[in-house]
């Protein structure tokens, strides 16, 4: 194995997390499967949301999995990159909106 914390081959071992806690693992994967089924949102829309969140949480496994999933479900490259920009906008916005907190504090501390 490469000298890194992340090994792409570990992605397909995700299910193994149930080995040490079968009941919670089962509940998680049942829930996970249910979440991604077609509902008020299509499976493609859910895959695009998952792709955006994968970037926000910067999970290489998730980016790998949901890039494939988006392609399989028929999302196009423009939709996928727009989803990543949504994640970037929220992450950037989340940092910047704290600027208001900083400004409040500046006001508190300065003459």
């Amino acid at each position: 194995m490469d000298n890194t914390y992340y090994n792409p081959a570990d992605l397909k071992k995700f299910g193994n997390i149930s080995e040490l806690q079968p009941e919670m693992g089962r509940k998680f994967f049942d829930y996970y499967g249910e979440v991604f089924k077609e509902g008020a949102l299509t499976e493609r829309e859910k895959a695009l949301i998952a792709l955006a969140v994968s970037h926000a949480v910067q999970c290489p496994y998730c980016i790998d999995a949901y890039t494939s999933d988006c392609l399989e479900k028929g999302a196009d490259e423009n939709q996928m990159m727009e989803a990543v920009h949504v994640a970037a906008a929220i992450k950037g916005g989340a940092a910047l909106v704290h600027g208001v907190q900083m400004m409040n504090k500046i006001k508190d501390l300065t003459m």
């Binding site: 077609e38 299509t42 499976e43 493609r44 392609l71 399989e72 479900k73 028929g74 196009d76 490259e77």
Partner: protein
């Protein structure tokens, strides 16, 4: 990755050799070992040996000649391929059909079947026999030469069901698989087919599209993709069609070469094997279809044809000896590429099988 203009055969590429392809397929696996043999997988699900279950479709490959050299083509078709069916062999197909009323549908494929000089002669006779004719039309052929411009009218006259590949509703992904400019020409051809009545709501002139993934991934959710294709083709180009058939790319010929060259071979095969679906396996198309090669040889499907895996020895091997009763008793010839038809929702020339 640019699309080569020449077929693998013209390049004298090693993947032009079916025996070499089978050798590669036999030894596919991961670090944990080779993948289970397809026959053994069927045995696990009590589906072995696999036998026909009411053959109703004769699929005739009228030749490997084509005006395109698509990156994923399992036929290795192209302008440099000269193997095409003669009128005499077509007559043998007509004779076999006359003896086999159970074969209600004749599915014409290629290459570009329309490039065979006897294509229209054949369709006229099939239509006169009252058989449902399907033509796997690559769309661009309609615009390739003025002599093909009237194909939509010809198809209409003979109530031909047109099945056409359009891997995506955008030029970039379509052209990456099928060649530069193919998307634009395909759109024009679809508009010509719509104009004569194909694909319209309430019309009996059926126009179905084929979605093959443009890359090393599987197709998912035929109904959902169909809705997206309908929405995008209608809003972007005012195009209508009936059904979308999702077809998994099988690791044969040029697609096998693509998988190896792009470094996706093992992971793609693993996806196919992991996604094995016994319900799809019970519904594979080789159970209701027999495939005829350009030279009249008989196969279980068009993929076996390209791998030169003829129908089981001891059963009729050539269309001149066609006997449906004997062929319906045969054991279907399997190999590792068969995993492509049993993955996920299943895959056939008519799309998903579950």
């Amino acid at each position: 990755m640019p699309i080569p203009v020449k077929s693998l055969k013209a390049q004298q590429h090693q993947f032009a050799n079916p025996a070499f392809q089978l050798e590669v397929l036999q030894h596919a696996g991961t670090e944990e070992g080779d993948f289970p043999l397809f026959g053994a997988k069927l045995r696990e699900h009590e589906l072995y040996p696999l036998r026909p279950a009411g053959t109703s479709i004769l699929q005739v490959n009228v030749g490997k000649m084509c005006n395109q050299t698509c990156r994923h083509c399992h036929v290795d078709a192209g302008p440099d391929r000269k193997e095409i069916m003669t009128r005499a062999t077509m007559q043998l197909c007509l004779d076999a059909l006359a003896r086999s009323p159970q074969l209600t549908t004749v599915d014409l494929t290629g290459g570009a079947p329309e490039m065979n000089p006897d294509f229209r002669w054949f369709v006229e006779r099939l239509s006169a026999m009252g058989r449902q004719v399907i033509v796997r039309c690559n769309l661009t052929i309609i615009l390739a030469n003025p002599k093909y411009y009237d194909l939509p009218e010809f198809f209409k006259k003979h109530r031909v069901q047109v099945v056409s590949s359009l891997p995506y509703f955008s030029a970039s992904r379509t052209d990456a698989q099928r060649g530069d400019g193919v998307f634009e020409k395909s759109i024009k051809a679809l508009q010509m087919l719509n104009k004569v009545g194909y694909g319209q709501e309430g019309s009996s002139l059926e126009l179905n599209l084929v979605y093959n993934p443009s890359g090393a991934f599987l197709p998912a959710g035929q109904k959902s993709l169909e809705a997206e294709f309908k929405r995008r083709l209608k809003s972007g180009y005012d195009i209508e069609f009936n059904n979308l058939f999702c077809i998994t790319n099988l690791p044969v010929s040029r697609y096998l070469d693509y998988l190896i060259e792009s470094g996706n071979y093992s992971s793609y095969m693993e996806k196919l094997v992991t996604a094995f679906n016994p319900v799809a396996a019970a519904n594979v198309m080789c159970r209701n279809t027999i495939s005829v090669g350009w030279d009249g040889a008989l196969y279980d499907c068009d993929f076996n044809q390209m791998l030169e895996l003829k129908v089981q020895p001891g059963t009729p091997q050539h269309i001149r000896d066609f006997d449906l009763k004997q062929l319906d008793e045969r054991q279907i010839v399997l190999n590792q590429h068969c995993y492509g038809c049993t993955a996920g929702a299943g895959s056939s020339c008519g799309g998903s099988t579950t």
